[in-house]
Amino acid sequence: MPHRSRTRLWMVATLGTVAAVGLTACSSSKTTSATDDPNAKVTLTVGLFGTFGFKEAGLYDEYMRQHPNVTIKEDDVEQSADYWTRLKTRLASGSGLDDVQGIEIGFVSDVVQNHANQFVDFASLSESSSLKSSFYDWKWQQASTSDGKTIGLGTDTGPEAICYRPDLLKAAGLPSDGATLATKWANWTDYLNFGKQYEASKTKPASSHFVDSAASIFSTAVYQGNEAYDNAQGKPDVANSDGVKSAWNYATQAAQAKLTAGLQQFATPWNKAFSNGAFATIACPTWMMGYIQGQAGPSNAGKWSVAPVLPGGATNWGGSWLGVPKASKHQKAAEQLVEWLTNSQQEITMWTKGGHWPSNSQAAADPSVKGATAAYFSNAPVGQIFGDIADKMKIPPIGLYDTQIQQALTTQLTNVETKGTDPNKAFNDAMDAVKQVTG
């Protein structure tokens, strides 16, 4: 009996040791020494969200052709909110980060304030002055800390116009050419009155509405004031913001006059609505064009167009940067890739091939960019339209909690649209939800 238990003890001890050694072997990371040799073979991982469009525009292949020692692997998460959750967690633990990480305008403020020392500072590189001068000032500033560190180079921006269905407007007996609409939609009041005419028309398609959602109007108008969600001191102050007040006013007017289709943006029914004519107009940043094309499909080519106007003044929705985490084992190679992807030549290609408006001001001034037209959108002169708007864009300060605050407000707008909630009650409910975010 004692002999058997001793053997059993040895067996357990051996198994335990083997298991422990095996686990440590599995967990040890590949320790490749960070080499600065430009010709060493490297694999760069690029972590992105949504559709940045680099792969589709063939940029990775081009870079790999120019640098045969580099292999690029893209790691894409569909929703930027899920991507940000994952990035936050990895930044907190300091591991699992890719060599290049995409940063969206919704959380760039958080990265700049809280994680600037975990990213490579482009302002400290030797080529920083030429980098800085090639981007829009505000684009460079949004990715910079107050003491001058810049954590990312700008990829695209989102100047906004109005995408619309000329056939639906025509069916309602209303003007449908760009030039006329530019005069009729110069401010939100005129835009809403036009919408009321659309709704009142007897000849419009029965189940269609003028605009997709009140959120569309709100998300655009909120950035047309002096302040959006943050005050001048950089603290969230939603109730006193002029942008929020006027945006809420216009959005609830549209909701109560039943001008909207009551859809929640980026949900499945909204995706389907692009092809079934549920709404005639939508606030359209440049990246929305690619979205519409993807959702509505080739059968709807030529049914959409772009009006050269944004009610209330030129503004921006969206835009991203590319950053290099310091945890990357191939910092120099990753920096080179980021600088190449965001230089003016590549950003011109991204616009002409993918509809992503450049944040590189040299690219934006290029004639091929200004002269671009979009075949899907009835050959509208989109280069001219968005170029004019991009030159005039107003950029109020961005804040830490913009994304969550915007979601709280647009969720309540859905209640005003679909459940007839009183706008004041909805605003108070939104403020309660915002308090939960800001604390």
Binding site: M1, R4, S5, R8, L9, M11, V12, A13, G16, A19, Q79, A81, T85, K88, T89, L91, A92, D110, N114, H115, A267, T268, Y401, Q404, T411, Q412, T414, N415, T418, K419, D429, D432, Q436, V437, G439
Partner: protein
């Protein structure tokens, strides 16, 4: 089955031994489980309690500001918490009570000699095996306000169409329907296993006394199943208190439980606080409060059962006698 200490020889042997044979090796065998448990369950459990006493944001995790019980105070004066608590309770009742009754009925029917019994039993368990995401997506389409088949059906019966996502009670009923669909088969199988342990001679005696099938069910099956029923109630209570996946996916992955938080459960609230609103301290406080509520609910269940003189029996360990019952 030999019981320890029954024979004279082994009784003497028991008195002489100080330890049972092989006990040292036994510690070695269970050590890996406890190592993993301590690393991945006990440590996070204690760490969550620690974090709940601080003001912590996910993006600045290393900057923790001590606030004592302020997070708990915030929680108990917070209308979102009480809303989530009420919703968890109502969704829990709507999803658990009909489900267990249905499971009991199905198990009783499947206990009889039916043709194709095995097929029915397998089919019953299929919903439990489906992916939660797939199931919720399908149910979302069934319950769609404009294009769903359920509203079409209601319209055919000249009943008013319901907003299954927007209105409070229809949304809670829809989420409960998903839960019921998933778990009825599982619970029915557990009841079926428990029913196998009821002596068939009791049924014969009842039949001789002139009891109908329904009376047999009420007076033989249910009393015999009391420990099993208690087990399923306890497990269902714990599951209902933690309900997370179905309401999350029912609003397309947004953890607010609907535009007016109409079906936000405690689990969703905790996720929203921690990952959407970035407030890990508050989320940790919610997590510990949920734990307290679950412990309270389980203790209530056990106290109620003790009043009726029952012990909790886990039906997984079937005694040898049940294995011989005709299936």
């Amino acid at each position: 089955m030999a019981v320890l200490g029954e024979t004279a020889g082994s009784r003497i042997a028991l008195r002489r031994k100080r330890t049972l044979p092989g006990s040292k090796a036994a510690y070695g065998y269970i050590a890996p489980f406890f190592a993993v448990f301590i690393a991945f369950s006990l440590y996070p459990w204690l760490d969550t309690a620690w974090v709940s006493l601080h003001n912590v944001r996910l993006t600045t995790y290393d900057q923790q500001q001590w606030v004592g019980l302020a997070n708990y105070r915030n929680l108990f004066t917070n209308k979102f918490f009480y809303n989530a608590l009420r919703n968890t309770l109502t969704i829990g009742i709507i999803s658990t009570v009909p489900q267990l009754c249905l499971a009991l009925g199905i198990a009783h029917l499947l206990n009889y000699k039916l043709r194709g019994r095995t097929f029915f039993r397998v089919a019953m368990l299929m919903p439990y095996a489906t992916s939660l995401a797939a199931a919720t997506v399908i149910f979302l389409q069934l319950f769609d306000k404009d294009l769903g088949i359920i509203n079409w059906f209601l319209a055919e019966l000249h009943l008013p169409r319901l907003d299954w996502q927007g209105s409070k009670w229809p949304a809670q009923i829809a989420v409960s329907a998903i839960v019921t669909w998933r778990w009825t088969g599982y619970n029915a199988l557990i009841y079926l296993a428990g029913m196998q342990a009821i002596d068939t001679s009791l049924y014969e005696a009842a039949a001789i006394d002139g009891a109908s099938r329904w009376q047999q069910f009420r007076h033989v099956t249910i009393p015999g199943l009391r420990p099993t029923i208690l087990f399923t109630i306890v497990v269902s209570t714990i599951g209902a208190a933690q309900l997370f996946g179905e309401p999350l996916l029912y609003h397309n992955g947004i953890p607010d439980g609907g535009t007016s938080n109409q079906f936000q459960t405690l689990g969703l609230l905790m996720y929203q606080q921690g990952w959407t609103n970035d407030r890990l301290g508050l989320a940790s406080a919610t997590a510990w409060t949920m734990f307290g509520i679950i412990v309270l609910a389980v203790l209530c269940n056990l106290w109620l059962s003790r009043r009726r003189g029952q012990r909790l029996v886990i039906p997984i360990a079937a005694t040898p006698s049940t294995l011989e019952v005709v299936r």
